[in-house]
Amino acid sequence: MTTTAPPPTKPEPHRAAKTVSRPGDRIFAGLARGSGILLLVVMAAIALFLTVRAVSAISKDHGNFLTTFEWTPSLNPPVFGIAVLAYGTVVSSIIAMAIAVPIAIGIALFITHYAPRRLGGPIAYVIDLLAAVPSIVYGLWGALFLVPHLRGVNLWLNDYFGWTYIFHKEDPNSAARSLFTVGILLAIMILPIITNVSREVINQVPKMHEEAALALGATRWEVIRLSVLPFARSGIISASMLGLGRALGETMAVATVLSASPQLSGHILDPLGGTFSQNIVAKFGEADEFGRDALIASGLVLFLITLLVNGAARIIIQRRKEYSGANA
């Protein structure tokens, strides 16, 4: 997986008033425009295809598509809804982000600012390798290692933090095939991308800004707080969004770990629930034409959620643009 950092700020497009037109420029401009248009056409075609199939499925749904728990499009009349899937997807991703983002920032800062050079490089390399592990391998590891080993952790959480409601477990002896376990697994999976992109963004913080803080008598941590984090902030948000995008859409790792059921619980340790992608892989094989359309509708919702999340991130980044240091 390539992990190139998004540039912190885009340079303004710059045009000369009148330029001589050269064949090379014209060919390149034509190619660039052509591929741009092609991309748009392909995207529009996909969107149209998905929307048509999704709408036709939803219009035949006898349950409320948004609030129904069950996913039974094969019944007569068909009843299916995304309540459990949306809940599971969002909750497992929130758990993953809550775990992965702080750790990733910590590792990125450690590599760039605390570790001796000889150590920083190898650590960064190992984390790069983690990003290359296929998700089914994570899924198998999650099912065979994480699930049995988290049982004790679950019991402990239930005993000591059960009162928080979130960590209450209905049946303490059930397996750890819960959204919580999925969240942990997703956190491990998205850690490399967040770490690597954050690290590159942090490395781009100009030396002169760090020296500004140092010369004022800032300690290492104060340098990070005064110069590094503010400068790298929008890049770190982008990095987290990349991670979140992966967590929201992750399929195999969830499907192998979660014991899915059309139930919804505020207790994240309970072994039930589902996510969009997990539901799609689980149901696609046996689904008939209509069932597939229904699944497409759920995929479209996942797409909308991802779009929403990215939009929100963009707004956060934009709002701080004046302070982004672009003109420093």
């Binding site: 050079r117 002169m208 800004h209 020296e211 500004a212 803080a213 140092l214 010369a215 004022l216 008598g217 800032a218 300690t219 104060e222 005064l226 110069s227 503010p230 400068f231 902030r233 701080r320 004046e322 302070y323 982004s324 240091g325 672009a326 003109n327 420093a328």
Partner: protein, 258 residues
Amino acid sequence: MAKRIDISGLSAYYSAFKAIDDISMTIEPGSVTAFIGPSGCGKSTFLRTLNRMHEVTPGGRVEGKVMLDDENLYGSGVDPVTVRRTVGMVFQRPNPFPTMSIYDNVAAGLKLNGIRKKSELDGIVERSLKGANLWNEVKDRLNKPGSGLSGGQQQRLCIARAIAVEPQVLLMDEPCSALDPISTLAIEDLIGELKTRFTIVIVTHNMQQAARVSDRTAFFNLSAVGQPGKLIEIDDTERIFSNPSVQATEDYISGRFG
């Protein structure tokens, strides 16, 4: 309070490369000392040894002694962070914290020193910005980002930030080289005002500037590329520019160099 700096036998290295060799000099409290010399002779390196910024560079290493009154900055157990709070620094390129407002830029060092009371901060921020001759230009937009100022204003903001913490020494590395003549004059005037409160050391490539602002001038040179830079002489500015005791100094100042 301004303090005397007494440097003896100071050498600085970048890994195996010796950038400056065996420099000794005394800098009087409340004076302005200018460092001049050809590019690469180690002026910046030497300046950065005076607030222990040199060791921040990977491979950076220092030998010798820097006494600030009677404290050795390189003594064992001396915390470089504390040193940098006593010896302030202004860089060649203005470097206000881009994500902070003008106010927060000036207050940054104060907050590091644990000053949190709004009324106290307000007072010092205003005093420092006035001290840096910037107050009138920014008093109506203290909450706007510091990176929105012009280069010259940014540099004065950096000076305000540096003097807000009341250091004893103020080091300036070519503070005007990125500025227009008017901003340069503004900063030169400022140096004249500040020297009553701080011991000032300024690196400059501008002979007139050295002649205008400094009381003492130190000339550095290196015998060849790849050789360490050395202090050739330090004397009253007037004397350096009229009748230096070393021929190389005269050659450099009169432009008959290299």
